[in-house]
Symmetry: C2
Subunit: 172 residues, 2 copies
DNA sequence: TATTGTTATACTCTATAACTATA
DNA sequence: TATAGTTATAGAGTATAACAATA
């Protein structure tokens, strides 16, 4: 208890002071957890293939779906179109992603992995999955469905909160 | 299913191809969740007080403990000493944090909130706590202990993995 | 007019190492 | 020699807006 709170208690002030305990604060805990997990995982693809998180997401998305437009990649990997655009450009320069025009809508293009891109994907995906498995291994199997539900709810709720704040600048 | 997998199935290849589903991949889900939560929360202190996440953590840590050295702040808020140093410097310039020399060890100093800093803390902490409460509200009460345990385990495990990788560069 | 995607800009954030002062 | 903290540097990542092409 810090000085001020000790004083409050001593003085018998009825309003309990609010103490925010960082180590129990959910946003902080989520942030630390996600950062550490991301850091550990990124060693796999950053050190091996010299690509960052956005490029990794594009690679994995194309590995999962085969062919996609930039917009679709952005939706599926929750990335802004500029981030997708730059990641795709980098992967194209490395000959890991190929582009094919959509004749029905020339604004967009169909993106897919090249054979080299698929090779990396086939090599990296099992390692990443194994990493994910090892990670989940430390969570009690009985707790896993709850974790799954909680992450879903928290993600939806914070996305909604962010959207609300963006729409209503007065709340800031 | 993408082209290659369809081919594999058609050819009757026995080795099932590994498909990494981003939306089910725990590291990705944690990252998206934490980013959205952090984004929503930071509106509270970034827009109100013009400070970033590191400064916020220092403020909250000092609000919680009253007096601390830079090193202690770093440990408690999982921040590197350079990040702590710069955050403290910024908060000092804004007269929100004060520094008092430790006569027993002149390398470090005792840091604490100024009255102005405490005022901001008293104003912001309840808002942050309310935010955290609203967030947790969407999680089924029955799922909360599991979420708590899971986050703890995942954080410990990934910290350990990162430490292992840092020690053993051959694994990269 | 709206949408897809790219580019430019400026800004913030980060990691690392080098350094100072003290122990 | 080791530790607490600061500063320098460079690189990475970010957000925003402006833009071009197409619908």
């Amino acid at each position: 208890m810090n000085k001020e709170n000790a004083e409050r208690v001593q003085a018998g002030t009825d309003a309990e002071p609010v103490i925010l305990k960082l180590e129990e604060f959910l946003p902080y805990r989520l942030n630390v957890c996600a950062t550490l997990v991301s850091q550990a995982l990124s060693r796999i693809y950053i050190d091996r293939y010299r690509i960052g998180v956005p490029e990794w997401r594009v690679l994995v998305t194309l590995g999962q779906y085969g062919v996609m437009t930039g917009k679709q990649i952005g939706i599926h990997s929750t990335m802004h179109k500029t981030k997708v655009s730059r990641s795709v450009a980098l992967l194209e320069r490395r000959k890991l992603v190929a582009r094919r025009a959509n004749r029905n809508d020339l604004r967009e293009a169909f993106l897919s992995l090249t054979p080299a891109g698929e090779e990396i994907y086939r090599e990296a995906a099992p390692i990443a999955l194994e990493f994910g498995r090892q990670l989940l291994d430390v969570v009690d199997p009985a707790d896993r469905p709850a974790l799954d539900r909680a992450l879903k709810r928290l993600t939806d709720r914070s996305a909604q909160l962010t959207a609300d704040l963006a729409k209503d600048p007065a709340h800031r």
